[in-house]
Amino acid sequence: MKNLFTIGLPSKGRLKESTLNYLKKKNFKLTSKGGDRDYFANLNNLPNVKVIYLHAREIIERLGDGTLDLGISGLDLLYESAVNLQKKIEVKKKLYFGKATLVVAVPNDWIDVQTVADLEEISFYFRDKKNLRLRVATKYPNLTNKFFTTKGVTQYKIVLSLGATETYPFTGSSEVITDITSSGSTLKANNLRVLKDGSILRSQACILASKKSLLDIKKKRIIKLF
């Protein structure tokens, strides 16, 4: 029985480091034949388990399509993914690391904007007086749309961002942003401030399992080990 069970782990950054620490504490030992750059690894004490290092977003996708049985990724990325993917994934455990909040931030100098209600007013001003829609740069369009809809903000346009979202309001690419932040220092350093009621989602790293794998008794037994 070869490679019966597949686990996806974050391939870089702090999330990878914390994940490896977590596994170490659980007495799992990871070995890769090709050294640090190898995207595959094995778990010494579980010969039938294959580990793949993937982008945290990709882990969600692969859990959804059944390529992975188990994965460690962020709650934010799970909730941002398509609804049909979310339906196929179960959150098994919330971990103590990777804590961050998805927030709405505006330029510091917009001193008249403190709440989402202010932002809503500004968005109508943009539409009525400037014939433009307020642009919101984000890596999280789905969560942003859901949040704004419940808060009554409708007159805006999403600008998809792949990184350095904090720069968007100052390069003319958007007026406001939503972004994930753990301490808020990057936002502050970039002259942005979080709205008083602008917290969209509190996120953290999680152990996620494919619901299909949970139906398999052997796989379920392995999932329980994490």
Partner: protein, 354 residues
């Protein structure tokens, strides 16, 4: 009677009353719709990108498509049109069909609002009579009454605008009323801090822009906001008046009386509220006609009279319409063009007459 047959009968009524056939485009520039309805409506539309990267959509609504046509053809003056076609949009309700067959009419560019309102409603009622549906309920409202009431209340200007903007989103509107009646939307600690920044920013070039907004614009709004506080008791009273107003619901012939009583109770001047509903004609229509101030809150572009007709036995809605005086301007016209229209939903009609 088959769907095709009652289509014929309905269209015959439309034609007889002087409406001219017009076929609006099936494909529209998505921006037309998104600019008007916002990002949240986007997911209900069926869109694609054309070869030039332009985002197009199948018409989600024949009224908007008819208005776009009116503007594209540079039409001037009064236009009385009817259409027979399909609207394509997803629904939040999975049971609803994506394709909706509609027969509708619009009067665009005419200034005689009361008369036009009457003509649209009467034509639809005639058409329904022609297909022999006898027991119907007509729900009618006038969303402009709410706007007129808000204008007359003593609350900060930005709260007036906020309530008017969100009238058509009942759930969020209720949140707003709760906030109006309970807490302040100004945070004193943050305001103190920002006042210092305010003084600093006053010394800068006022035309300088920060993320698309001029400094002068930011400071002026800040100033207005902090000098525009409202008292909790006043807010509570206002919220109560609004809630009471939205409870008015009675047969059309009692409408004027109940509005009068309401205004008297809250000491609001009588001439504050004027309506353009064809009250007499509706009272004499022989149908059950219910007036409600809370009715018509589900479509953003209505500005005045709104109505909906449903079959009495199963409450199935078969027609709806209303006045939309700002729509053409929001679609690009440089002046206000008044308009009113209605449509019969053939899918619902066939469901009813099985």
């Amino acid at each position: 009677m088959k769907s095709k047959n009652y289509s014929k009968k309905i269209l015959k009524v439309f034609k007889k009353r002087g409406f001219i056939f017009s076929e609006p485009d099936v494909l529209l520039d998505s921006n037309y719709i998104i600019q008007r309805s916002g990002e949240s409506f986007k997911k209900l539309m069926l869109t694609f990108e054309d070869d030039n990267g332009k985002n197009m959509c199948l018409r989600p609504d024949l009224t908007i498509a008819s208005c776009v046509k009116y503007l594209e053809e540079n039409s001037k003056g009064k236009s009385k049109i009817y259409y027979s076609g399909q609207a394509y949009r997803r629904s939040n309700n999975s049971r609803d069909s994506i394709v909706n067959d509609q027969l509708g009419l619009e009067i665009i560019g005419s200034k005689n609002r009361t008369l036009d309102n009457k003509e649209i409603i009467n034509t639809i009622l005639k058409a329904i009579k022609a297909i022999k549906i006898k027991k119907i309920i007509v729900n009618v409202g006038d969303v402009s009454l709410f706007r007129q009431l808000i204008e007359s209340l003593r609350i900060p200007e930005r709260w007036k605008l906020r309530l008017i903007r969100h009238f058509w989103r009942p759930k969020y509107f209720e949140d707003l009323l709760n906030r109006l009646g309970t807490n302040s939307d100004i945070d004193p600690i943050a305001i103190d801090f920002d006042k210092r920044r305010f003084s600093k920013m006053k010394k800068l070039d006022q035309n300088q822009e920060i993320a698309g907004r001029k400094i002068s614009e930011i400071l002026s709004r800040f100033d207005k906001k902090i000098s525009d506080p409202r008292s909790f008791t006043e807010g509570k009273k206002t919220a109560k008046i609004i809630r009471e107003f939205l409870k008015i619901n009675n047969p059309i012939d009692q409408m004027e009386e109940s509005l009068k009583n309401f205004l008297q109770k809250y000491n609001i001047k009588k001439n504050v509220i004027k309506n353009e509903l064809p009250i007499k004609s509706l009272s004499k229509s022989g149908y059950k006609v219910i007036f409600s101030t809370n009715f018509g809150r589900n479509i953003e572009y209505y500005t005045g009279m709104v109505f909906e007709i449903s079959v009495a036995k199963n409450k199935q809605e078969i027609a709806r319409g209303g006045r939309y005086d700002n729509l053409l301007k929001s679609l690009g016209s440089n002046k206000n063009i008044f308009a009113v229209g209605a449509a019969i939903n053939l899918n619902n009609l066939s469901r009813t007459i099985k």
